[in-house]
């Protein structure tokens, strides 16, 4: 069947500059460029291009420009080009449209409507270059009060404190499984978190055995509905265990790693045969209810001898606050919430673009609900999904998060250009692929450096902003909405965020 969809991108090659080195041909995994020996020229097939910009950046002569195609349908506010083309693709295949990355629709981004405070006169701002500025964060369940015994000058803590995680900056790497991302990308995240003193999350694809001794202490290992790669050693080598209930990019549905991505090593880590589909059912089939979740939380605490905090990750959905409150009562030490814009290696587009709520509103609703119920200190909140900069992070903390997970941001640091082709397994940047030729492009040392650089830069910026507000310890900003004001927001939005309008 002839496809009626026209190419998304247009490739323009400056023939003057092009030196026929065929670099672009080697770079593009989608097979866009081919060399024609007859004319000694490179020919590009626009239909194949994903717009990942790899060939552009790696062309030694800067001869290539890749830009959105200039052809267009008759403009129509209702039938956008995207709607028309998705529909055509489906008419041609009868299938579900799959995509990668996060929701790219123009829903309101609240970060861009919130401004931060700074001290002037009444309270001095602090200079982070000279004075102590603390970002160390503890994640876990705090008791309501501490029972302390004073005996003959000796102090003894009598309350049993549940296990906690300590991070040097409130930025953790979000769950990205080995299988969805390449070994090199996975290892770079692990190394960077170890170097910086933070944590990475294995996702549901297991933790390769050879990485356990070295990076286990920085790993949050996931237990998801597919239960891949889980055994007692996996659970016990880690810093914490996370039950993945949902993901911001695809709340309410499962996923599967297609058989072609289940290479020898992915298979070993997940403990499944090579080449089989790794299916993650939509729900955990042992969790159909909150008391079942409580049971799994306690089963995992049992399996780790009550030595590790247990986190529960959910997608931000309509009743997120009520659900989270139930999760706290079910015994979770940490709640991770993933907002509407959270990324994914593969999700049906209909779900990615339409289900869930923005993380900003979810954090605030959750924080307020738990405070109203008097149980906020019984868990830590880690927010994920759509954090793009240090200022987003600091706003998230002021809205009530204890820390954040970054996923897409970390990928971009390593080279991702958000081309949304993660699901194809052909990632030219060596990130979302199991093709050794492509994943080999990602140098772990360089990628690690890029990640630690990012953590460094953002941590510094957070310190600067904290100092400006006259705060020198991150915990003093947690849930401190006084330092936020809204601009251009409706009354109900301000109410959900729990902040005043600017000037108020």
């Amino acid at each position: 069947m002839k496809s009626f969809v026209f190419p998304e991108f247009q490739i323009i090659r400056d023939e003057e500059k092009c030196g026929q080195c065929r670099g672009c041909e080697r770079q593009c995994s989608f097979g866009t460029h081919t060399y024609d020996p007859l004319t000694d020229r490179l020919i590009s097939d626009d239909y194949k291009c994903a717009g990942c910009q790899r060939c552009v950046i790696f062309c030694p002569k800067d001869a290539i420009v890749v830009r959105p195609t200039q052809s267009f349908y008759r403009p129509n506010a209702s039938w956008s080009r995207e709607k028309i083309e998705d529909l055509k693709k489906q008419a041609e295949t009868g299938g579900v449209i799959l995509t990668g990355c996060g929701n790219d629709k123009p829903f309101r981004i609240y970060w861009d409507h919130i401004v931060l405070n700074a001290s002037q006169v009444t309270n001095p701002s602090i200079d982070p270059l000279r004075e102590p500025m603390e970002l160390r964060t503890f994640l876990g369940a705090k008791p309501d009060l501490m029972d302390i015994d004073f005996k003959g000058g000796d102090v003894e803590i009598k309350t049993k404190i549940s296990p906690h995680l300590m991070v040097e900056t409130p930025i953790l790497f979000s769950a990205m499984s080995y299988g969805a991302i390449s070994y090199n990308a996975f290892k770079s995240l692990a190394t960077a978190s170890k170097q910086f003193g933070t944590l990475f999350n294995t996702g549901e694809g297991g933790l390769p055995r050879e990485l356990r001794a070295e990076f286990g202490g920085n790993a949050i290992v996931q237990v998801a509905s597919g239960r891949y790669g889980i055994d007692a050693e996996y659970l016990n080598c880690a810093a914490a265990v996370e039950i993945k209930v949902g993901q911001g990019a695809k709340p309410g549905i499962g996923g599967h790693l297609p058989g072609e991505k289940v290479s020898q090593s992915v298979a070993e880590t997940r403990m499944i045969p090579v080449g089989t589909d790794a299916i993650s059912p939509a729900p955990h089939h042992d969790i159909y209810s909150i008391e079942d979740l409580s049971m799994l939380i306690h089963a995992l605490k049992e399996a780790t001898n009550y030595e590790k905090p247990v986190s529960v990750k959910i997608a931000a959905v309509h009743n997120v606050a009520a659900i989270a409150s139930g999760i706290v009562r079910a015994g979770a030490d940490i709640i991770a919430i993933d907002g509407l814009r959270g990324g994914t290696g593969a999700a049906p587009k209909a779900i990615r673009d339409n289900v869930g709520i923005p993380i900003e509103l979810a954090i605030s609703a959750l924080d307020m609900r738990l405070k109203n119920e008097g149980i906020r200190n019984r868990c830590s909140i880690v927010a994920a999904g759509g954090l793009r900069s240090s200022s987003d992070i600091i706003k998230a903390i002021a809205l009530g998060a204890d820390a954040v997970y970054i996923g897409t941001a970390a990928l971009i640091a390593m080279g991702c250009t958000l081309c949304q082709k993660c699901n194809t397994g052909k990632c030219n940047w060596g990130l979302c692929t199991q093709d050794p030729r492509l994943s080999g492009r990602l140098n772990t040392e360089i990628a690690t450096k890029r990640l630690t650089n990012l953590l460094n830069a953002w941590s510094h910026e957070i310190m600067e902003m904290l100092g400006g507000m006259g705060i020198n310890a991150i915990e003093s900003l947690r849930g401190n909405r006084d330092h936020l004001r809204g601009i251009g927001l409706y009354e109900w939005e301000l109410e959900v965020l729990g902040i005043k309008g600017a000037g108020q």
């Binding site: 693709k89 237990v223 007692a232 042992d286």
Partner: protein
């Protein structure tokens, strides 16, 4: 071999499992638990981080709570009575023998070890059971199961002997199945089985497996006086996935 007997009356789940853990680390190899009533996760905690892999025997009288043997690595559990939901959840290795019936989601995501259930089991038995290399879980059920047997099954062996009075009435067998094998002794209508599943007669290799595991099942319940030849003579059907990739063609 040191045996410790514990009367579980009134002991909480956490305390009971903590005692088992402490005793195991001290070298106890056999536990006899009496009057168990609803205590959960028995066997789950018993893992030693220092690399040696202790293996203990746990003999249970009473009704253990849900998630018996969840995440378990390598112990042997025998229950004189019925068990509840979630037995063998994500179990890695070991053996559970139940002189009675089991509840729902038995052997979910189990990747190794063996479970023998004397009577019937509930819904969603062997859900997403897996296998990997030499790790091949085995689940033998004396009677039958309720609906959704072997949903998403990705590996392992399930055998239903149909020895009880109940016929195999369950529907939605093997929905999404993409690995492993189910053998059923007795009649099953094609409509009870999901479309992704291939129904055939067991071949020579299958017969060998049946011989082996039916034998083990019988040995696990010596009091029943079962006759292996008699059982194996019955009609068996074999259910196996048509493809390792049941959902490959879903996307545009």
């Amino acid at each position: 071999m040191e045996t410790v007997e514990i009367d579980a009356t009134g002991i909480s789940t956490e305390d009971l499992n903590e005692r088992l853990m402490a005793l195991m680390l001290d070298g106890t190899e056999k536990f006899v638990l009496k009057n168990v009533c609803g205590q959960r996760y028995i066997g789950t905690r018993l893992y030693s981080k220092n690399g040696n892999k202790p293996r203990v025997d746990i003999d249970i009288t009473g009704t253990p709570g849900s998630d018996l043997g969840a995440f378990m690595s390598g112990h042997r559990v025998r229950v004189h009575g019925n068990v509840q939901d979630g037995v063998g959840n994500t179990m890695d290795d070991g053996e559970i023998v139940v002189e009675g019936r089991a509840g729902d989601v038995l052997g979910m995501s189990m990747r190794g070890g063996k479970i023998f259930i004397r009577d019937n089991t509930g819904y969603r038995t062997a859900l997403h059971m897996k296998e990997y290399l030499d790790k091949k879980p085995v689940l033998v059920i004396g009677g039958t199961t309720q609906d959704f047997l072997g949903e998403y099954m990705a590996g392992g062996i399930v055998i239903l002997l149909g020895l009880g009075e109940l016929p195999h009435n369950q529907t939605f067998i093997g929905t999404g199945m993409h690995g492993g094998v189910i053998y059923i002794r007795g009649k099953v209508d094609k409509l009870q089985v999901a479309g992704q599943v291939d129904i055939s007669e067991p071949g020579v290799e299958d017969r060998k497996l049946l011989d082996k595991f039916v034998g083990e099942f019988i040995e696990s319940f010596p009091d029943l006086g079962l006759n292996k030849e008699e059982i194996l003579k019955g009609d068996f059907i074999k259910l196996a996935p048509k493809s390792k990739r049941p959902y490959a063609k879903m996307y545009a």
